[in-house]
Structures are given as structure tokens and as C-alpha cells.
């Protein structure tokens, strides 16, 4: 059996290397992954389902799925973080649909809530997470409303493009076009560098 890594050594490993250990059923490697991404995962679930208990449930399911299906992680298709948050997002949308029948509910803007939440004591990594979040929201606010609206409805609301078109009384092509323009704008802003990781090659 391979030599056991110390907690300090695990902390220094990249996510992808931790996933290799998780795939070999190493709970300590899994704990490091959870400590890195659990907060973002829970926050995303909370944003989508709007309920702390369901968000907890969703996050737990998603991380158990990461633990179980580490072998399905494919580094060529994205980072561990985006893979994990993708699982969280899909499970949160499933939960949202279970709770509210077939139609997810609207929960578009929580900036007001955010401002009221800053007084509690934060760890360094949480403070960084919140600072990043604040800057990202600032960047997203630069998007035209019509683009951020369809992106928010799709990603956080779990609506399909056809549902959004019906909801807004717009042609399907318009909805999809706004999604594309909005995402391209976010992507180009990233390429210009906002301090968020991401490759900066040109649009293919």
C-alpha cells in the first residue's frame, strides 16, 4: 500500500491529484477537497434552492457523488471545482423542481441580503471567497440586463431556453442569442483579467 500522506502534504496537492486519491478511497484527501470547495458548493445550492436545510441536503448528496464517482472526473473537460459545482447545480435544480412541483421559482436578486450579512467573523478563506464574489457580481452587473436575466434564469433558476422564451414572451432564438452574447462578454472580461483564474485565449 502507498505511504500515507500527512495532512500538510495533502493540503499542498492540486485538486486533480486529490481526486486521484479520492478515487482510491482516501477520506483525508476528500476532506481537503471539501474544505476547499464545500463553502462555494453550499453557497451555490443555497442560492438556487433558497432554503438552508435543502441546501445542506443537496451539498451532501453532491459530495457523496464526488466521493463515489471520482473515476468519472475527466481533467480534460474542466477543473475539479467546476465539475463539483456542476454536480451541485444539477442536484439543486432537481431539488428545486421536487419542492415546487415542475416549475422552479424565481429568486433573482439577493444583493440586499448579502449586504446585511457582513458583520459575522470570517475565516481568511471565507473572507477571500466573499471578496471574490463581490468583484464577480460587480463584473456581472456590467452585462446588459436582458443578458444577465436569461443567464440567471437558466443557471440559477433551472429553466430551459423554451421555458424562458415563454416566460418572457420572446422568440426562442432571441433567448439563446442573449445567452450567447452574455456568456461571451463574461468570457472576454475574464480574458482581460479580473483576477479570476481562466485561460485567456481568443474565441475559437
Amino acid at each position: 500500500m502507498a505511504e500515507k500522506l500527512t495532512p500538510e502534504a495533502l493540503q499542498r496537492l492540486a485538486d486533480e491529484d486529490l481526486m486521484t486519491l479520492v478515487d482510491r478511497r482516501d477520506p483525508d484527501a476528500f476532506a481537503v477537497l471539501y474544505d476547499r470547495h464545500g463553502g462555494a458548493a453550499y453557497s451555490l445550492a443555497h442560492r438556487i434552492v433558497g432554503d438552508p436545510a435543502i441546501a445542506e441536503d443537496v451539498t451532501q448528496e453532491a459530495f457523496i457523488s464526488v466521493w463515489r464517482s471520482g473515476a468519472r472526473f475527466d481533467a480534460a473537460r474542466g477543473s475539479v471545482r467546476s465539475w463539483t459545482l456542476g454536480i451541485v447545480r444539477n442536484r439543486a435544480i432537481d431539488a428545486l423542481r421536487r419542492v415546487s412541483g415542475s416549475a422552479p421559482k424565481l429568486n433573482l436578486d439577493d444583493d440586499a441580503l448579502l449586504e446585511s450579512q457582513t458583520s459575522e467573523e470570517l475565516t481568511d478563506s471565507e473572507a477571500i471567497r466573499r471578496e471574490t464574489s463581490r468583484r464577480v457580481r460587480g463584473a456581472l452587473r456590467e452585462l446588459p440586463d436582458e443578458q444577465s436575466e436569461v443567464i440567471g434564469l437558466a443557471y440559477f433558476g433551472g429553466f430551459t431556453h423554451t421555458e424562458i422564451a415563454e416566460m418572457l414572451g420572446m422568440p426562442l432564438g432571441t433567448v439563446k442569442g442573449r445567452m450567447r452574447l452574455g456568456l461571451e462578454k463574461i468570457r472576454n472580461t475574464l480574458a482581460e483579467g479580473m483576477g479570476i483564474d481562466g485561460p485567456s485565449e481568443a474565441l475559437p
Binding site: P27, T59, L190
Partner: protein
């Protein structure tokens, strides 16, 4: 050349797909993606924009028990899967008590179900009961008005209930499994349904002298005694 034109037309679809919003057209686009390098490249280029969206939400701190529950579940599984696992009885005890802890908490229905299924699988391996032929019986609906489809698979002192269809329940409810022995209903775990109405639930032993496995609807966390009429029953 025509492929190039098609791919330009798919640019909007790729954006909707990246957002998880392509609906019924998802499978068709995924088939195209398998063989189209330029669409794959385009999707990869868009991905960092999608990755940014979770960072834009209000950042909240998860409750510490979330980590505790997860690590308890994961460590229990790692121990069961390890080649040098302790003897079967001890190991069954440990996962069962882990399950009981989880079952007492709200909001862990799905995780409990996953644990149960994994634990039963591990239990088979540890005890090496490959010689026991599983027997399968069909479960009967107890109330003709509700659609029910399920089977009970038994191997020795373990049984697995496979539900294809049961009525949906509220979010604060679970289905609870009971073994009826000498007319007494003994609680044997809870489960919730997948989004398609299916479920797989382990029925913890002992099953000797059991008359039937029954399922009732109970408040989240389960009950010590049934509080509703059984929806299904399978003879043991």
C-alpha cells in the same frame, strides 16, 4: 463546408447547453459534440464563464455538521471497502450506528439511502455469501388506488427493496421500511424517491421468522411505530 455552417448555427445552442438550459435538445447536441472538434473547442472556451457564475452568489458558511456527516459517511465506506476491513459483525455494527446517527438528523434522506445501499453491497462481500441465491418476490400494493411497483430481493439475512414506482411524498416526509415479525412492526430504515419515482432501499436483518416487509409514509427521520397505513407489502 455544410458542417461548418451547421456549427455556426449551433453557437447559440452551445451557450444554452453550457448553462444547462437546452432541455430536450441536449442529447442531440451531445451526439454532435462527440464528433465535432470545433464545437468542443468552443464549449471549452465558454466554460470559464460558466465557472464564474457560482462565485457570483452570496457566500454563506455551511453548518459544521455538514462536514461531520459527510466525513462519517465517507470514512464508514472507506473502512468497509478496505481489504483489511475488520470482521463482518464489527463492521456492520459501525455502519449501522453511522446510519442511525444520520437517520436521526433532518435533511439526509438521500445520503442515508446511498449509505444503506453501499453498506449492503459491502456486507455481501465481507461475509462472502456468494453461495446464497437471491430470491425475488413482487411487492403488492396495500391500497388499490395508488400506483405501486416494487420487488423485494432477498439473499440470506439481507434484503433489498427495489421500487419502480411509489406516490411522491412531501419534502418533510420519508418512506419507512418495516419488517413484520410475530405481528410486530420493526423499523428497518427509511428512504426517499429519486426524481423519477424510483428507489433502492436495503432492508436490514434479521429477517428470520419475518412475515413481510412493509413500507409506510412517515415524517422525516422516520418513526418508531408506523403512523400511516402501509402502501406496499412483500412476503418474506
Amino acid at each position: 463546408m455544410s458542417e461548418r455552417r451547421d456549427c455556426d448555427a449551433l453557437r447559440d445552442d452551445l451557450a444554452a447547453y453550457a448553462l444547462g438550459a437546452l432541455g430536450d435538445e441536449t442529447a442531440a447536441l451531445e451526439r454532435h459534440l462527440e464528433t465535432c472538434d470545433s464545437c468542443q473547442a468552443r464549449l471549452r472556451w465558454l466554460t470559464p464563464a460558466i465557472d464564474l457564475l457560482p462565485a457570483a452568489v452570496e457566500q454563506v458558511t455551511p453548518p459544521p455538521r455538514l462536514r461531520e456527516n459527510l466525513m462519517a459517511a465517507v470514512r464508514a465506506e472507506a473502512a468497509d471497502a478496505a481489504p483489511a476491513a475488520p470482521p463482518a459483525a464489527a463492521s456492520r455494527e459501525s455502519w449501522w450506528s453511522a446510519f442511525r446517527n444520520l437517520a436521526m438528523r433532518p435533511a439526509t434522506g438521500m445520503a442515508v439511502l446511498i449509505l444503506l445501499v453501499a453498506a449492503v453491497g459491502a456486507g455481501y462481500l465481507l461475509r462472502g455469501e456468494s453461495t446464497v441465491e437471491p430470491s425475488v418476490v413482487k411487492a403488492e400494493a396495500m391500497n388499490g388506488a395508488v400506483p405501486v411497483s416494487a420487488t423485494l430481493e432477498r439473499a440470506g439475512d439481507d434484503a433489498t427493496l427495489r421500487v419502480n414506482q411509489l406516490p411522491a411524498i412531501d419534502d418533510d416526509q420519508v418512506y419507512e421500511v418495516w419488517v413484520q415479525r410475530a405481528g410486530v412492526m420493526e423499523p428497518r430504515g427509511t428512504f426517499v424517491l429519486e426524481s423519477d419515482g424510483s428507489a433502492v432501499a436495503a432492508v436490514e436483518g434479521p429477517l428470520d421468522d419475518g412475515e413481510a416487509v412493509l413500507v409506510t409514509r412517515e415524517p422525516r427521520g422516520g418513526s418508531a411505530q408506523p403512523t400511516t397505513e402501509p402502501v406496499l407489502s412483500a412476503p418474506l
